[in-house]
């Protein structure tokens, strides 16, 4: 699909994302100005506070944005996932340039001009309003301009906490190796940044007294409507965020930031909606955010894998018995977190040791043990994750006594292509990867039961489950309902055929008769 075609097919969604992006930037900059400019003014009056406050603002800006979101998730009121958290983080990022430029601008006013103002009998407030602020306005607007351009960039990260914006396309594009998505997200964000920079540059020139000639009267006429528009826009945005309905009969469904997780979340969401309840979708959350969000009550349910819960959340050493893992996870989640683990959905997403179909047939390979004689001539390609984790490469090579001619560490998603194009001869992929069948790859049996089980389940809050017959019904329907092949096929529809996810889920549910 060409980029232009992509735009034609997706412009409505793209426009929505741009709108979300703009609202996030606009509201956060507005709040940052309302906080930052007065703070800057106070700092010019109380010298002792200047170092500490600017220092804190400086540190805020150096915290990587994902880490900042991580800190915010568990906090009450300002935390959680979604728009509010994104706004808090964006405001914290925008404060520094605005405070700093307010201080610099005001302190940069000619001392003789300030002294003249005082000597003429201006009160401190008059000196500030009539002399210092007008003369510092250009520098302050520069600060706002810098903050805005930064905010347009940082807002792309907001997608990781489910706040929407162009980051949704960027993250999705990175995940699916879809250049159209990446391009649409990144180019739009860059264009927004340029446009914001240009427009605020115009405003900046308006405020710079060096250029003010007979325009000084006109300036007020522009300033006043600008403030009115800002105030109205801010008011509407505030009203919009403050009044979003929060009903009891609403299930918040979350997902992790990869296709399969989004698919499982969407399947559950559509089933709950069929049952008559409302669903709020908080998809594509990064890292351990879904777990944190489930604990804090901002999510009600999200799809997970038993092996991940067992090792990453409960910090146990990997074991290979699937029933033991499921039982352990089920009882510990209930006692430690008050979270219910659904029955297995019927498939596992575990590491799949893959070889080319040709090789498998020629060399008669079925199990991983069959590889040992060929390994010294073979090159292996593994993702960074597999190379580093406890149940990954080091234990694997020992368990099967494999010594490869070469082991390459590369991006997981690229290993499939590398294998089929004979760059490498063996990889550790995901068992549900959609491209396995399409590229004619064969999964070898884990005959020594090295890999821990990663059964797909839903994790949900027990209070929500008790109160929602729709959720109970949907979980019942999905128990042992999805096979590995079906999951592969679903993944392939999205990643390979680039079909619309909601549509794919709708078709699949219809086909299954759910």
């Amino acid at each position: 699909m060409s980029f232009l075609q992509f735009l034609q097919n997706n412009w409505v969604e793209l426009a929505t994302l741009i709108k979300e992006h703009l609202v996030l930037v606009f509201v956060s900059i507005l709040v940052a100005v309302v906080i930052g400019v007065p703070t800057g003014i106070l700092l010019t009056r109380y010298r002792a506070w200047r170092g500490p406050v600017l220092g804190i603002a400086n540190v805020m800006q150096t915290i990587p944005s994902l880490a900042l979101f991580g800190f915010l998730i568990p906090l009450p009121f300002i935390g959680g996932i979604g728009t509010r958290t994104a706004l808090v983080a964006l405001v914290l990022y925008s404060l520094l340039p605005i405070i700093r430029n307010t201080v610099t601008g005001i302190l940069g006013v000619e001392p003789s001009v300030r002294e003249a103002a005082v000597a003429m009998g201006m009160t401190d407030g008059q000196v500030l309003r009539q002399v210092e602020l007008p003369l510092a306005a250009g520098v302050i607007v520069t600060g706002i301009r810098v903050a805005t351009v930064i905010a347009v960039g940082v807002t792309t990260i907001a997608a990781a906490v489910g706040a929407g914006g162009l980051g949704v396309y960027i993250f999705r594009g990175l995940r699916q190796y879809d250049n159209n998505l990446l391009l649409a997200g990144a180019v739009s964000a860059a264009l927004l940044a340029l446009a914001a920079d240009f427009l605020l540059g115009l405003v900046e020139r308006r405020f710079s007294y060096e250029r003010a000639r007979k325009r000084s009267r006109v300036k007020l006429h522009i300033l006043v409507p600008a403030i009115v528009v800002l105030a109205i826009g801010g008011g509407i945005a505030f009203w919009y965020f403050a009044n979003r309905p929060v009903t009891k009969n609403r299930i918040v469904v979350g997902s992790k930031d990869f296709t399969e997780s989004v698919l499982l979340a969407e399947i559950l969401a559509q089933l709950i909606e069929k049952g008559g309840a409302t669903v709020e979708r908080r998809f594509e959350l990064g890292g351990n955010l879904p777990h944190e969000a489930l604990m804090s009550g901002t999510l009600d349910v999200y799809p997970e894998y038993t092996g991940t819960s067992y090792t990453a959340i409960l910090h146990h050493t990997p074991i290979t018995d699937p029933i033991e893992v499921y039982n352990q996870v089920h009882s510990e989640y209930a006692s430690k977190f008050n979270i219910e683990v659904s029955p297995p959905l019927g498939f596992e997403n575990t590491f799949a040791i893959l070889v080319r179909g040709d090789d498998a047939r020629q060399l008669n390979l079925r199990e991983i043990s069959d590889v040992a004689p060929h390994a010294p001539k073979w090159r292996a390609g593994f993702g960074q994750d597999f190379m580093s984790r406890a149940d990954g490469y080091p234990g694997f090579s020992k368990a099967y006594n494999l010594k490869f001619a070469e082991v390459r560490e590369m991006d997981l998603s690229l290993t499939y292509i590398a294998l089929s194009s004979k760059q490498v001869d063996l990889i550790a992929g995901n068992s549900t990867e959609g491209r396995i069948a399409q590229l004619d790859l064969i999964q070898l049996d884990d005959d020594r039961h090295y890999f821990p089980p990663y059964q797909a389940v839903y994790l949900m809050r027990r209070d929500t489950l008790a109160q929602s017959p729709q959720l109970q019904g949907a979980i019942g329907t999905l128990t042992f309902a999805i096979s590995t092949e079906e999951m592969r096929q679903l993944n392939y529809e999205i990643d390979g055929n680039k079909r619309d996810l909601k549509e794919v889920v709708r078709t699949w549910l219809a086909k299954k008769g759910f």
């Binding site: 003249a116 060096e210 007979k214």
Partner: protein
């Protein structure tokens, strides 16, 4: 303030001023008569500008009192005091973002005059300092020459018709020809308006041209307070040193 008209306008009584234990002014006693132009002469760092700032309460004395119209500055509301005193500094200290008219009309507008009254006063003052209101009122300071800006500075100080003017090296940054002509215009103006003025300079020629009395300051002390004639005949070594520079210049 009329009841105070028999009292001296400004009086320094045993005034000391020090900044973090460095004495800037020590034991200053000085009375400024109504209608006179008193020039404080001295090299930079001698305390003459500090003396000015003590009058409009930009600074308060460490010891002693500065009395303005019978009331110590510490008892004045600083804002009211400053609006009551004209202030001219080098290069005018004009507000770069205000038009000439707004600069000149500043104190009247702070005092809450009506727009029409301010407008009329601005015209009157621009005419008084030799600037055509039609040409200059709507311009900005950076579009004017140094001499023109200085005229605007004087007009601004006169705007609310204050009984007292403070001038801090007002003609210091101008070229010699402009300076000479502005000095004469100012002498003429202060005679006509009967204003009391305290003017600070390091230029002995300016002191002799403008001052009815000259106070010579050195290291925070007032060494000498004399009429120009008395100053010319003084035997004070500091005063002689200043007068020698005139002899070298050969234009006394």
């Amino acid at each position: 303030m009329n009841d105070a008209s028999d009292k001296p306008l400004v009086q320094f009584k045993n005034v000391n001023f020090s900044l973090s234990n460095n004495s800037i002014i020590s034991d200053l006693n000085l009375t400024v008569e109504r209608g006179e132009t008193l020039v404080l002469l001295g090299e930079s760092g001698c305390g003459k500008t500090t003396t000015l700032k003590l009058v409009n309460r930009l600074l308060l004395p460490t010891k002693g009192q500065v009395i303005v119209e019978g009331k110590p500055t510490s008892a004045w509301d600083p804002i009211a005091l400053r609006r009551h005193i004209g202030y001219v500094i080098q290069e005018g200290g004009l507000f770069p973002h205000f038009s000439i008219a707004r600069n000149v009309g500043l104190v009247p507008s702070l005092l809450g005059w009506g727009a029409a009254k301010i407008d009329e006063r601005v015209r009157e003052l621009l005419n008084l300092v030799g600037l055509d209101p039609a040409r200059f009122a709507e311009r900005y300071p950076r579009e004017l020459s140094g001499g023109q800006r200085q005229r605007v500075g004087v007009a601004r100080a006169l705007a609310a018709d204050p009984p007292l003017m403070l001038l801090d090296e007002p003609f210091g940054a101008l070229d010699p020809l402009t300076r000479a002509s502005l000095q004469h215009e100012f002498a003429d103006l202060s005679r006509r308006l009967g204003k009391t003025a305290i003017l600070v300079t390091h230029d002995v020629r300016e002191a002799l041209t403008l001052g009815r009395r000259i106070g010579l300051m050195h290291k925070g002390q007032l060494l000498l307070l004399e009429t120009p004639e008395g100053f010319l005949n003084s035997n004070n070594p500091q005063a002689r040193a200043y007068l020698d520079t005139l002899a070298v210049g050969g234009t006394a």
